[in-house]
């Protein structure tokens, strides 16, 4: 009668042995390629208009847009899986400086994904951009400067966001991942199933787009920011928008070397994740 534990063990082995890292990288490559292609038609002066043109008019625009969107989502989810499995396996940790450089790729990935939504320029993207700008402005001392550097939507539209999505964050990400990628390259031939799956999803699924329309009384942010959107209702902008999301990043950066201390860090990470899931669920109920 020990079927169930067997199954659990089997699933666990499956998860642990999956090539998360390679899959993450391959979806990133697809995202980069399709992103460059989209940029040929995209125009940062009229974000919504050009996204709609790509989606509705440009030949195969719908497919390329979907490919960029779904490969980016796959990249982010696989990266999460990759990080969880690496922490779970308790593989030997890098020296602190290298570790922080590597882990910086995670917040950079979030920013890349997020700025993508802003570029879409629909109701969701526009609101998300404005909220990001105001969160940035809530940071004491360096807030305005950081906003001028990163978002500045009110003054510059998506111009700066576009720049960072295409070059700034990509370059930062490349820097952060460089030593890691030299050690662990990924080969397309090992990941044909993933590539086919992403291609199929992009052919068959529609990419979300929320036109600005009369009576749009609830705008939901990107799915990974729903929890943040909910928290912003209750707490001050700085606490909800900066401190709260920085907690897991700081924990990850300064993950203790010693096993028993590291256990505590894991517990806090897990608690944070659970709280975030609950907030996301509450926020989702409002849609």
């Amino acid at each position: 009668m020990n079927r169930f534990p067997d199954l659990l063990r089997y699933v666990k082995q499956l998860l642990l042995n999956n090539r998360w890292g390679g899959q993450t990288l391959i979806s990133l490559y697809i995202s980069l390629i399709s992103g460059i292609l989209l940029a040929i038609q995209y125009d940062a002066h009229s974000p919504y208009y050009s996204t709609a043109t790509i989606e509705l008019i440009a030949p195969f625009g719908r497919f390329w847009r979907a490919l960029h969107y779904y490969s980016s989502q796959a990249f982010f989810l696989l990266l999460l899986g990759h990080i969880v499995v690496v922490l779970w396996k308790k593989e030997e940790m890098l020296p602190r400086a290298s570790w922080i450089r590597l882990c910086a790729s995670f917040p950079i990935a979030v920013l890349l994904l997020f700025t993508g939504y802003v570029l879409r320029g629909d109701a969701t993207g526009e609101a998300a951009g404005l909220i990001a700008e105001n969160i940035c402005l809530s940071i004491p001392v360096v807030g305005t400067w950081l906003n001028d550097l990163l978002f500045d939507i009110t003054e510059s539209g998506v111009r700066k966001v576009y720049l960072h999505h295409l070059i700034g964050f990509v370059a930062l990400g490349a820097f952060s991942l460089w030593p890691h990628l030299r050690r662990y390259p990924a080969f397309w031939r090992n990941h044909s199933v993933l590539v086919l799956a992403i291609l199929a999803i992009s052919v068959f699924l529609k990419t979300p787009m929320e036109p600005e329309r009369f009576g749009l009384l609830h705008i939901a942010g990107p799915w990974f920011f729903l929890g943040l959107q909910e928290l912003l209702r209750y707490l001050s902008t700085f606490v909800a928008g900066v401190i709260a999301p920085c907690i897991p990043v700081v924990l990850l950066f300064f993950l203790p070397q010693k096993t028993e201390k590291r256990q505590w860090a894991y517990i806090f990470l897990a608690l944070w994740l659970i709280a975030y899931c609950i907030l996301t669920w509450i926020s989702y109920q409002r849609i």
């Binding site: 609101a127 404005l130 909220i131 305005t144 001028d148 009110t154 705008i219 912003l232 209702r233 902008t237």
Partner: protein, 148 residues
């Protein structure tokens, strides 16, 4: 190379000193670069005041929602309210049936005159000046809203 002419240890320590000096000057130069970096990235060209003309008269409902403001013109007077939510900047909407303004992001509410009623926003919505241009019969022909 100078190991023969100088006692070994003093040459070594001089090299170390030079190395340290060089290191410090590189750090100093990088630090000094921060200033032009901040000045450049923080520069903002001055925004021009914008005038938006709304053709009159308004529909019977007495309001008109534009991209950046909501214009109200009724017996009580004429004014324009900003559509930028004072919480985190989303674009607010006027709900005609409920007679208040609501934000789609976290549902902050404001009165017609922009006063905050409920929700996470703390400040009132800004009000813009409106100039009414009447025609010969004294009917409003156009509203010019000054956005600042």
């Amino acid at each position: 190379m100078s190991g023969k002419t100088l006692p070994h240890s003093s040459a070594k320590s001089r090299r170390a000193l030079l190395k340290r000096l060089f290191g410090w000057s590189v750090s100093g130069a990088l630090l000094a670069l921060l200033y032009p970096f901040f000045r450049f990235t923080r520069y903002q060209p001055k925004p021009k005041p914008r005038y938006v003309t709304v053709p009159g008269p308004l529909p019977l409902s007495g309001y008109r929602q534009e991209k950046d403001f909501i214009l109200f013109a009724n017996q009580k007077g004429t004014h324009a309210v900003s559509r930028t939510c004072t919480h985190l900047g989303c674009r607010v909407n006027y709900l005609e049936d409920k007679e208040y303004i609501e934000c789609p992001c976290h549902q902050s509410r404001f009165s017609q005159s922009g006063e905050r009623l409920a929700g996470p926003a703390e400040r009132n919505l800004p009000i813009y000046k409106v100039e009414v241009q009447n025609n010969d019969n004294g009917k409003a022909q156009a509203y010019v809203v000054e956005l600042v």
